[in-house]
């Protein structure tokens, strides 16, 4: 493994936030740490970045323990949730800043920073003040600023949470592209499962300070190791059969069948263009089914459905 | 660009501070060598003087010219000087004390803060106005009288008071300003001298006077300036040339009370353990050894009371007859100070115990 977390733990005021977490990241891959807020994912990221020191455990980068290195000497760079761009410097100066500490001359640093700004499509914004550019542009400045120092690992802390929905979709593609372009080992922290699925080579699900499962998006979605993971990633329909047997499965594993064997009352429906969502009341439970754009049902109607083969 | 200007501004400040220090050192070095060349009797160093006013520059300049040391001086009231001396714990920042009520000098001597200065000309000085052991001398006396604002008196239909006794007349209620005797050596002299004059009836007098006093100001110059400004009608004040200036600028008159004027000698002394002891002693000796100095002093002070200290200085004459002064036992000024001020404070409702 390129980067390896071995059994790391962290507690704040007697509350254990990260519990014996072990995780390996391969060179050049992008791994998403996914979890609800408070699950310990940002704390984990901060420990990798060097802003927090683990109470126990090791962080190995290429086999070397880096857990005692302070952030300024650790070959790891972070893009912060707020981007943390320096408000008194223009875009170019922001990107140049880290190079100063790597022994670049001013001229070299300028050239290198300009090159990276071109790479993130901000060549024309060198002189702009950070307050004058858009959220997406700020995001890219932050990326360029982190990447220009040639870190071995790039850390992204909820990088899209400050953007609006449309931009979020666009930027996650861009991040993916940039990551591929630089082939940089990346850890991406998010609470948004869709984001994780799109961006990640592998996803690590965190819950309550522990890593519950690590795998490709398909693996964790299709073969969740436990109920929490299953519920957290996508929707789970759970209902009682007439034989009092509980069935839990994903909506896409179900379909409408004239013949049943199950049925429920249509309580709500949403038209979403090329498909519709139907919410059925089945006994005490509510489930959701996806239907194609053509077939419609009336509210209050009794509808039959079955599991896909 | 602006950053650079700021940096330059900072640099200039720093440099000028350094230069200031350097320059002083250079000056000292300069004057040192010059003195050494000129005259071997000249004394080196700087003399630090605490004076009662800023006006003595010409006198100090002459000292520098004739004897050598540069003089730096600052004005301070006697109370400030005493407090500072006590806080300094025996290492005074100044060398010579020039002016201020003699009672403070007595206090200072008592506390071992003064240096004995023996010199020949001391024998020519009036014994009552100097310390018998030569710890302090005086450079004249402050005499006390009244200043009245004629305009206000007229407006209120009042006669100007002629005597100390007049001041207690009920019609002057709220019209008299006097400085707190703890602050003002001048007004302390009034209290002490009138107590000596009136004997047992003295305290009663001040209690009566208290009824007419609007308040006791905490600065010595307030009575005269506030009368001139028309804030009050009558002030109990020192009398010197500055009052003549006030008479120019406002409709005020100076009154010499009938019973006589209280007075207090103005002290001169060298501080014990001062840095420039030699220069300090030289200054005192120089000052009294040449009548020209005393004449110049009389000119600066705008009064000739130095004649009381050293009678018969050619070309000087007293502005008043010596018998216009009250008879005072000056030795009591120091010894009774604490007791008198305490009693005064209690009776006159000072400290808020009205």
């Amino acid at each position: 493994m390129y980067l390896e977390l071995k059994d790391i733990s962290k507690r704040f005021d007697n509350k254990e936030v990260v519990k014996n977490l072990s995780l390996g990241i391969k060179e050049g891959e992008i791994l998403c740490l996914l979890g609800a807020s408070g699950c310990g994912k940002t704390t984990t990221l901060k420990m990798i970045g060097g802003f927090l020191r683990p109470d126990s455990g090791e962080i190995l980068l290429e086999g070397e323990d880096i857990s005692s290195l302070s952030p300024e000497v650790r070959p790891v760079s972070t893009v912060f949730q707020s981007y943390a761009l320096f408000p008194h410097m223009n875009v170019l100066k922001n990107v140049m800043y880290g190079l100063k500490y790597q022994g670049y001359s001013k001229k070299q640093a300028r050239q290198e920073a300009q090159r990276y700004l071109e790479l993130v499509d901000l060549g024309d914004y060198q002189e702009a003040r950070t307050a004058e550019i858009s959220g997406g542009q700020r995001q890219r400045v932050a990326l360029a600023r982190a990447l220009v120092t040639k870190p071995k690992v790039l850390l992204l802390d909820e990088p899209l949470s400050n953007l609006d929905a449309a931009l979020r979709v666009k930027m996650r593609e861009e991040i993916r592209d940039i990551q591929r372009k630089f082939k940089i080992t990346t850890i991406f922290v998010t609470h948004d499962q869709e984001e994780a699925m799109v961006v990640a080579d592998r996803i690590g699900i965190m819950h309550d300070g522990k890593l519950t499962q690590v795998g490709t998006p398909e693996e964790v979605y299709l073969r969740p190791r436990d109920a929490y993971t299953k519920g957290f990633l996508g929707r789970v329909n759970s209902f009682l059969t007439p034989d009092n047997e509980r069935i839990s499965c994903r909506p896409e594993e179900m379909q409408f069948c004239e013949a049943g064997p199950f049925h429920g009352t249509l309580v709500k429906k949403e038209f979403l263009g090329f498909y519709r969502l139907f919410y059925l009341q089945v006994g005490e439970d509510e489930i959701v089914l996806r239907g194609d754009g053509n077939k419609d049902y009336k509210l209050g109607e009794e509808v039959f459905f079955c599991l896909k083969k | 660009m602006k950053k650079r200007i700021l940096a330059i501004l900072m640099m200039v400040t720093m440099v000028s501070v350094l230069a200031g220090c350097g320059k002083k050192a250079a000056d000292d070095a300069n004057s040192d060598s010059k003195e050494a060349d000129e005259k071997s009797t000249k004394i080196e160093g700087t003399l630090n003087v605490v004076a009662t006013s800023e006006n003595y520059q010409p006198l100090f300049d002459r000292f520098t010219e004739e004897v050598g040391p540069e003089v730096e001086f600052i004005s301070m009231s006697s109370g400030e000087v005493l407090s500072k001396l006590k806080a300094e714990g025996g290492t005074p920042a100044a060398d010579v004390w020039f002016g201020g009520g003699i009672d403070a000098f007595m206090d200072a001597k008592e506390n071992g803060l003064l240096e004995q200065v023996n010199f020949d000309a001391a024998a020519d000085l009036t014994p009552e106005y100097k310390d018998s052991e030569n710890y302090y001398f005086s450079k004249g006396v402050t005499v006390v009288g009244f200043i009245v604002n004629n305009e206000i008196l007229e407006e209120k239909g009042l006669e100007a008071p002629k005597s100390w006794d007049d001041l207690t007349k009920p019609e002057y209620e709220g019209e008299i300003l006097m400085s707190n005797p703890a602050i003002s050596g001048t007004n302390y002299a009034v209290v002490n001298a009138l107590l000596q004059l009136k004997g047992d009836a003295g305290w009663q007098y001040f209690e009566d006077l208290n009824k007419n006093i609007t308040y006791y100001s905490k600065r010595g110059s307030d009575p005269s300036t506030k009368v001139a400004a028309g804030e009050v009608a009558i002030g109990i004040t020192y009398i010197d040339g500055t009052l003549a200036e006030l008479e120019e600028s406002a409709d005020v008159s100076v009154i010499y009370p009938e019973e006589g004027m209280p007075f207090v000698p103005e002290g001169v002394a060298a501080f014990a353990n001062s840095e420039n002891e030699e220069a300090a002693k030289a200054f005192i000796e120089w000052f009294y050894s040449d009548d020209e100095n005393l004449k110049q002093l009389a000119e600066i002070d705008q009064k000739n009371t130095v004649l009381l200290v050293k009678p018969e200085i050619e070309g000087l004459e007293l502005d008043f007859k010596q018998d216009e002064l009250l008879t005072e036992d000056l030795s009591l000024f120091g010894s009774q100070r604490e007791e008198i001020l305490e009693k005064w404070a209690t009776l006159m409702g000072d400290k808020g115990e009205e």
Binding site: G50, F51, S70, P71, E72, P75, T78, F80, S82, A84, F86, P87, H88, Y101, Q102, G103, A131, R145, T149 | K2, L6, L9, T13, N48, S53, Q57, V71, E72, I74, S75, S77, G79, L82, S83, K86, A87, G89, G90, A93, A94, E151, A182, I183, T214, Y215, Y216, K218, R219, S221, A229, G230, E231, V232, E248, S249, A250, E275, K351, G352, E353
Partner: protein, 562 residues
Amino acid sequence: MKSKQNNKRAQVRSARFFDILDKLIISGLVILVLAFIFYPILCVILRGVNVEGSFSLKVYQEVFTKNQKLLWNSAYVAIITALLSTVLAVGIATVVVFSGRLKGFLMGVLLVSMVSPPFITSLSYIQLFGRRGSITHGLLGLSLDPYGPIGVIIMQTIFFASLNALLLIGMMEKVDQNLLQAAADLGSDNNDTYFQVVLPLTLPGVIVCFLLSFVRSLADYGTPVVIGGRYENLSTEIYMQLIGYANLEKSAALNTLLLVPAIVVFILYRLLMSKGNRLLQGGTPLKEEEMQHYRPRGLVYGLLLLPTVIFYGMMLLQYGSIFVNSFSKQQKGVRTFSLEPFLQMWSRRKDTFFRSLVYALVVALVGTLIGMLISYYIERRKLKGGKFFDFLVTAPYMIPGSCFGIGYILAFNSEPIKLTGTAAIVILNMIFKQLSITTKVTSAAFTQIPEELDMASADLGAKRLQTLKDILLPNLRSSFAVGFVNNFTSAMVTAGAVIFLVNAGQKIAVFTLFDAINSGKYAEASMISTVLILVTVLINVIFLRLLKGKGGESHVSGIKGY
């Protein structure tokens, strides 16, 4: 291409240098504060319990038995002054904040009014409103007696209002515009918005003003000495004990008593300010033009406007009369134009102005730097004992100047640090007396700079001190400006602490002002004041211009004033 790895060794080496430098600065600051604040104050406290060489509480007994009236006098005047001055400041701040285009002018007057040389302002009020005041007597034919507690209350109310108003303006400007808009949107009229949104959000600041004025009133002796008349309180008694009776023990004991309210106020201040900053964090301030829409209306505004107009009127009269005095001379009660005061001043005092200027610049630069560094280590590095340290830094501001001055003489009159009679003791005293303003302003500004900036900078390879230099200081320009202006101004025009420290070789302009006043030369005193005011304002303006540039000011603003 260089990689981060390759540079590691060089970085570790420079890292070590910065670690050492960091430790040196911390220990330097601790030593400075202990030596130049803690030790002198300790000397004063010890002096108060040391009667003729042995420990005794006799002096305190005396104070509590004989001088109760003084305690009461101090307390009631301080409470009334604090109340009135705070209310006045709320009025001024409201009018200024919502004033739209007039704001620049109103702020300017307010800033100038901070430059108020001692005694002379009180004297100018006597001249205007006293028995023969040119307004009360000359215009209205009245003969009022301004001397007494009421005079003290009025004067202090006006003095303290400037600083209070500046503090409140700083807070009101930070009220989130969305809140005002939301309130308007919900149907609240401007007065409701003012009372239910603006005031509650600035309430911690309002209380801070009250506390600050309370302590300042307790410690102020200049005002009661000039216009107190027969009114006596703790601070005039301290003055009397020092100047009149040369009784160091008693004045030390009284000063120690004044430390008690200072400690209480300090603790409350810390609590309230952190609350205030929390209330106002993260908002988007309104633009000046938009502010006008939310101005309180009708009677409410009238009630706020009236005292403000009176205040501004008084300020103009006060500075006007000082100015007129300095260019005129009186002959038999008739005032004529004259350059005499100027010529007198110029020929005799000019050196003292240059000295004042140099001292004040040193104090402003060094003091502001030290203050900002202290605030950095307390707020950003969260050093252990930071709160106690912060209290030490605040203490000199809250106790009477004379006490701090005497403390310096007591502390530094012998080896190892013998400073009496030097310029250093004067400058150091000025620096440490005012330090807390800089640290308070900087601390407030730090809460506005996200800590992620520090982390980002560290992540990019900067050591903490490099982060301080490259990232934090540029965003603290406005605190630097406030610190500089305050330090410079107070070094130029306040004299309380240094009056005992100044020796013949260090005569500064404000000292000669004292001398002129004490010898009754009001015209010359006015001239000295005029020059002091002009020079101070001029330097401040030049400095602010230089600093303004195109810096990060617009992004991260510190509160103005306190």
